[in-house]
């Protein structure tokens, strides 16, 4: 199946600053693609390029298999919707009028889908209230509704939860999941709030300094982000002796704590430690967070 988006050695330069440095990535159909990178990594630049707001310095991309240099790319773009940075809405218009305006821009014959769209994003009861008076979350949802006007099957969202309160974050998350599951919309979502992204994404692309560091599926990430047991004991020296005897991989964190990267029989471990006079105070299973995986991937000195 042709991927929705493919970029090949995509490069964008602003003056002397290289914003994208030969970026290559693939967004499969039906995916929620989490585009992860710290601020200034090049996430928004990529989105601007694929939306046609800017032109690449070199390299290219294809939407639904149509090359960016092909004149048919404009037709391909009709199948996508996007919210780039801030929601693109007319502040002096109501939510309904904003959607009607986008319908006109798209040349759609009537406004029959407008009420349904407003309900979908939870703005069905805003009436004549101008978008200027909306909360940030409402503006964000209206921006998504505008992006959905042409019934796209590829939605690009640039940092959609930035600045939202916890309730707003949950609303946007549920909306994205709903769109993906019920309407089979492929979503490219950029964010540096990684834990939030991990609740949504089926695929990940990790970008740093304009380069794709790694692309992987959520399953691959789960496998790569190693699980471990955090063991708190009275003496980690004894614990180390026992673990060496069991052939387990571990990391001593302090005199009392260690992470064990192996699936061990807890009873056996506890008994072995007890025999050597070492007290087991607690054992907890831990997942490596997306944050720590990302930090390990791009280098610990910089953080997402």
């Amino acid at each position: 199946m042709t991927p929705v988006l493919t970029t090949t050695a995509l490069t964008k330069v602003y003056g002397k600053f290289i914003a994208l440095d030969g970026l290559t990535m693939t967004v499969p159909r039906g995916a929620i693609y989490g585009f992860v990178g710290r601020n200034g990594a090049g996430k928004t630049t990529l989105i601007r390029l694929i939306c046609g707001l800017q032109a690449p310095a070199s390299g290219g991309y294809s939407l639904y298999g149509v090359d960016s240099r092909d004149r048919k790319i404009a037709k391909s773009r009709r199948r996508m919707g996007a919210v780039v940075e801030t929601p693109s809405i007319y502040l002096d218009m109501s939510a309904e009028d904003n959607l009607k305006q986008q319908y006109r821009i798209l040349g759609l014959p009537d406004f029959t889908g407008v009420p349904e769209l407003l309900d979908l994003v939870g703005l069905g009861d805003t009436g004549k209230k101008k978008a200027r008076s909306f909360s940030l979350g409402m503006k964000q949802r209206l921006g998504i509704a505008v992006a959905l006007c042409g019934d796209p099957d590829f939605l690009v969202l640039d940092e959609p939860i930035n600045g939202l309160d916890p309730q707003g974050i949950i609303e946007i998350r549920e909306l994205i999941l709903k769109l993906n599951r019920e309407r089979q919309i492929t979503v490219l979502i950029s964010s540096h709030i990684l834990d939030e992204l991990s609740k949504l994404a089926t695929h990940y692309g990790f970008i740093d300094r304009g380069r794709m560091v790694r692309e992987m599926s959520a399953e691959e990430l789960e496998a790569a982000a190693r699980k471990c047991m955090r063991v708190t004991v009275s003496d980690t020296a004894t614990l180390a002796l026992v673990l060496d005897g069991m052939g387990a991989e571990y990391k001593i964190l302090s005199d009392a704590q260690a992470d064990v990267y192996a699936r061990l029989n807890v009873t056996e471990l506890t008994l072995a430690l007890h025999e050597r006079g070492c007290e087991v105070r607690s054992i907890e299973e831990r997942d490596e967070s997306l944050e720590s995986f990302f930090v390990n991937l791009v280098g610990g000195e910089r953080h997402a």
Partner: protein, 278 residues
């Protein structure tokens, strides 16, 4: 393009700047006609006709055009709604040209808002045009062409400057600059060759002094030709000529307007195509 125009017309209809501008030009024209009619009715020596004040609204068109473009097109780029057009596959050329058509339409509407009530009131109250209907029509056509040229200029400014406040300020400053340039050129071209000074005699009587050469005077020659060309070519100069009803050849000014409109639009299109949008 048709869908962009359709969406743009809805925005134009809701654009408060357009209706305020129309009210301002119409109000000025009505005031101008009524004040001349009232002064004429007092039986003074001066006979007031329609010619004198009718075309003065043209002085407002430059500012009106700047403000309408800034308030109509500025938010598209400032608030980022232009992205909705690009993302859904509209070309930059179509976006630019649709903005241009809307700006021109808005400028013409504000001209008509002055012309129609001016004629409706002026013809019965002040009589017809002394210059003749044909010349008056040429003058009005010239003003309409000038308003379209202004729309071309301010469309380019507001499309190419993304920051809403900066584009509004730039458009207004440019409008005032064009008017100032026109006034300066008019001042130089109408400067008399000599300046008449006066001196006070010993017995306190005011007497004419020997005239001194005027340094601003432009004698016939290449310099005067250049000033005359600029006065005809620049929109600010044309505005001055229409205000003072001194445009001898409106057709020539219309040709210059067409040239300015085409050149600015071509340059604007090229720059807009290359512009990195955010």
């Amino acid at each position: 393009m048709r869908s962009l125009l359709s969406a743009g017309l809805v925005r134009l209809w809701r654009c408060k700047a357009l209706w305020i501008s129309c009210a301002a030009t119409a109000g000025y024209e009505i005031f101008s006609v009524l004040s001349r009619w009232l002064r004429g009715g007092k039986g003074g020596q001066v006979v007031y006709n329609l010619d004198g004040g009718f075309f003065q609204f043209s002085g407002m068109i430059v500012l009106v055009s700047a403000l309408i473009c800034a308030f109509l097109i500025g938010p598209e780029h400032g608030d980022g709604t232009v992205r909705n057009k690009l993302v859904t596959g509209h070309s930059r050329r179509d976006i630019y040209l649709s903005n241009l058509v809307l700006s021109a339409l808005a400028s013409l509407t504000s001209c008509l808002a002055a012309i129609l009530p001016g004629l409706a009131l002026g013809l019965p109250l002040l009589g017809g045009f002394e210059m003749g209907a044909a010349r008056a029509c040429r003058m009005l056509l010239g003003i309409c062409a000038l308003s379209v040229a202004y729309a071309g200029i301010f469309t380019a400014v507001t499309v190419l400057i993304s920051n809403r406040a900066v584009s509004l300020t730039s458009a207004v400053i440019l409008a005032l600059g064009l008017l100032a340039a026109g006034a300066y050129l008019n001042g130089r071209l109408t400067a008399p060759p000599t300046l008449q000074g006066y001196e006070l005699s010993v017995n306190g009587q005011l007497m004419a002094a020997v005239p001194t050469p005027n340094p601003d005077y432009l004698p016939e020659g290449p310099a005067r030709s250049v000033f005359q060309f600029l006065y005809d070519f620049l929109p600010g100069g044309q505005t001055g000529q229409y205000i003072t009803v001194s445009a001898p050849r409106p057709e020539l000014l219309m040709a210059y307007d067409a040239l300015i409109f085409a050149a600015v639009t071509a340059a604007g299109l090229v720059m807009f195509r290359r512009k990195d949008l955010k």
